[in-house]
Amino acid sequence: MSTDEIVDPTIAPSDQVKRFLLHVGVPVACVVGIIAIIAGFGWHSYRTVRTGALALTHELLVSQQDYIAKEVNSFLAPASAGSVVARDMLEHGAPAVEQKIFMGYSSTMMRNVPQIQSFYIADGDGNFSTLEHGENDQQVALTTLVRQPDKPPVFTHELRDANGKVLKQWQTPAGSYDPRGHAWFADTVKAGQLHWTHPYIVEVTRQLTLTAAIPYKGQDDKTYVYAINMSLAHLNKFLNSLRIGESGNAILMDREGHVLAGHGMQEAEAAAGGDPDRMKLDPKHFPVMTKAFDEYRVHGDGARTVSVKGKAYVTITANLPVGTDNWVLLLVAPEDDFSHFAMADGRQNLLFTVLVVILASGLGLLLFLQARRADRMRAQIAQSRAVANYESHALQSVASYPDLFNPEDNALLLTETLADQSHARRAAIWRILHDGHTLMCIDSYDRQQDVHSGGFEMATTDLKTFFDAVSHGDALTTDNAAADERVGAFYRVYMRSFGSQALFCSPILGSSGPVGVITLEDAPRAEVVSHFVEMMAGVTAARFSAQHYTAVAAAREELESEPSPDEVPHDPSQGFLLAPGSLGMNAQTSAEDLAGMEGFFPAVAIMVISLSDMVMTAQNDPMANLKLIDSMAGMLQDIAHQCGLFSIRMLGHRVVCVAGCSHTPDKGAVFRMANAALMMRENTLAVLSKADLDPVFRIGIDVGPVFGGMLGKAPQAFNLWGDAMGMAEMMAQGAPDVGTIQVTEDVYHQLRQNFLFRERGRFFIPGAGLTRTYVLAGRR
């Protein structure tokens, strides 16, 4: 199992998200649900209360409207009833007492009915009398216009007291005044019955006035009109004094929307400049009234709710018949005035709800945190159980190792288990040798490469601080060994080349003190499994005590051991089938000045023939083998002579042929080498087939720069090395099939005009990059 797997299949996908949703989602959903239910109840309750309050409000407004209607009727009644009474009295009275009847009746009415402003009486001849309030409540002012032929019309003014006594009398010219030209006279005569005029402004008093006029025939057969003028100021005052809700208003309008009395009267009058026809509500200043009146015009009278700028208003409109005309009574009040308590009640409920929800949320949060904590604990328990399980398996495998305490066995399992448990990149067991001044690596295991090594020794002098720490039996842990002065030297000597940073050291304690140390490099779990490391340290200590040999003695033996007399170095020159430069042709140097053959050779063709093991084992008879090889060697020498090669050298199973070994590039060298390769292949195949053997060789050719020269003392050896040498060998090793010649891209480029090649493919070769290789098939 690879230690750096991205997904560990033994771990089932975590249901953490699901559990988190369960822990968070359910409480949140519950709280939201509770909030929704409470809010729903609150809203429903508010709606119910509001609806009830509005119904009550409507009833209240209807009763108020009735009251106002009665009030308006009682305001207008004296005019309609009084005019009828006056008409009857005047109609049956003698013309001579007509003025007296008018005076007596009207002045009595005027004193007792406050809303009456004045009385008119006029006949068809243009005679006219008016009775108005005098300078105080008890006085009356009578103005009479009696038209006499050949005389200009003159108003006769009389101021009388309560008893009818004339206090003052004067005259003013009447000018062109004629009552018959006024609407109250003309319209009334035309109507022939009690007639109400439209409201109008009296210029003298600047008051909005309404006139009820009735016509009658006098005994002299003349047509008379008796009129009672009522000031709407009284009605206005009454309407303004009404209290509707907390801030509601009432207004009286005619059907065309002219304001007659009530709220907004003054503003409308000011805006209209006293013209009754223009006294309409301004939508800018009275948007609610305007909208309510529009609603009335569309839907007729009744109670309804209008909304202006997001605020609801209760309105009620009612018709008030006045003569042949109809007035409209409009009552408007903000809905809040009536349902305010419902809102306040709802707000209070909401506040309580929010408090309850906050408390519930707090409890939910506590519950959630508790659940998460339980989850974490469960995961920790599961993890520690898994770790314990893993450790026990590891311990079991160590314990079941049959040669655990056998000093002859290396027990490589120990470092492997240590590295595996602590996830260390490298685990090593070191021993303090008996001289007390040397630390020796018994076994070091590289987990990534899966390789063991050992045998390094470190002297006290190099690692004084580290050695001191180890010999005192201290456990060391450092994340940056390079910066830690205790292990800095150890890092430089042992760790830096490996590239590890962190170090964990656990001492191996024997009966008489520390006998070694276990080092774990880049081990993230080292401290977690420190008890396991201690156990392994104990096992190692037991192993040490079981080992009877001393490392010092072993080292001494090793140092004292001399190379056996048999191991005499071979003369390298013996490997040459063709001594370097021995042919001395094609501008190559001759053997005499081979000593000068040193340095860089820019374009050397190198061919490596790799013979497989089988050639040695194919025949049982060694002598027959030797004979075969011998004939092949002779053949190679012949070919070398024919093709002018520089050298042929046989090294074990390989034959290395070199051509073009000169300081100036020899362009023909590759050509000669390829020829030689083909000839060698053909001849070798022929020889092998004669011996009834399968082809057992592969050939690789490369061309390129190499270094070389004579090396050592006498006998000197000539050697070449460079990339071309390695590549040629690689070509031979990696030839696609036995008996094939594989060449590099450089060779192919130089020879493609003269030889036939087959491309094998592209390969990545470390150090050389991407390259193509070709199989040399034959000559063109």
Partner: protein
């Protein structure tokens, strides 16, 4: 995986006939870590299907197949993929992607499943390439490689990383003769590490030289899997 547990265990596993064409008979097989099981099978298709069965790619109607203690049928996709990443397989039919170079085909499984550094993967692939007779790591698209080179590349791909199980279909007819020895060597090295081997062969010649090291010998026929004595 518990210590001493079987690496691959087929326990009365009956494959779905509709999806595999394998005889719906109970198959039993048990490979311990480091063991090598050779399965004689004349039919390449059947061998490939059985290999699929062992890698949990064929549904079962009954029984169970456990690899490293995990039952294929109980795992989620992510786990399935990761677990298959621990198997090195030589497939008779190649399974090569010609869109990419052979090198990517070789390295992709290892790069996909592990966090092994790229350089390390390249180095390992090149080493294996050398072992199996390549001059380097082949970069050419698989469809342009010769049969022998493709067989070499298949070996490299199967042995990449540190597989816990090798499922090797028979490519002995394509593999050059001189690659047989490195093949045995690499297989033995993997077994020493604890890797199990399930090796399908068509004839005894393919594994004759390795006979002594084989632990289990079975024959896969139409009727099912039958145990043979290891000689």
């Amino acid at each position: 995986m518990a210590a001493n547990a079987p690496l691959l265990e087929l326990r009365d596993a009956v494959p779905s006939f509709e999806e595999s064409g394998l005889m719906p008979a109970p198959y039993n097989l048990r490979i311990m870590p480091g063991e090598c099981a050779v399965i004689d099978c004349r039919d390449f298709e059947r061998a490939a299907m059985f290999a699929d069965l062992c890698t949990g790619m064929i549904p079962l109607t009954q029984g169970s197949i456990r690899f490293m203690g995990l039952d294929w049928s109980t795992l989620y996709d992510r786990q399935l993929n990761a677990l298959r990443g621990r198997i090195g397989r030589i497939s008779r039919h190649g399974s090569w992607l010609s869109l990419f170079g052979t090198h990517l085909n070789i390295m992709l499984p290892h790069l996909y499943h592990t966090t092994d550094p790229f350089d390390h993967v390249v180095r390992r692939a090149t080493e294996l390439g050398h072992t199996f007779g390549f001059p380097g790591l082949p970069v050419t698209a698989p469809d342009r490689l010769s049969g022998a080179d493709l067989a070499r590349a298949a070996c490299v791909r199967a042995f990449m990383g540190r597989p816990d199980l090798l499922i090797l279909e028979d490519i002995s007819d394509m593999l050059p003769e001189e690659t047989v020895l490195p093949f045995f060597e690499t297989m033995t090295a993997a077994r020493d590490r604890g890797c199990g081997v399930l090796w399908f062969v068509r004839s005894s010649a393919a594994w004759h030289e390795y006979r002594k090291a084989v632990n289990i010998h079975m024959r896969l026929l139409d009727e099912g899997l039958f145990s043979l004595r290891v000689v």
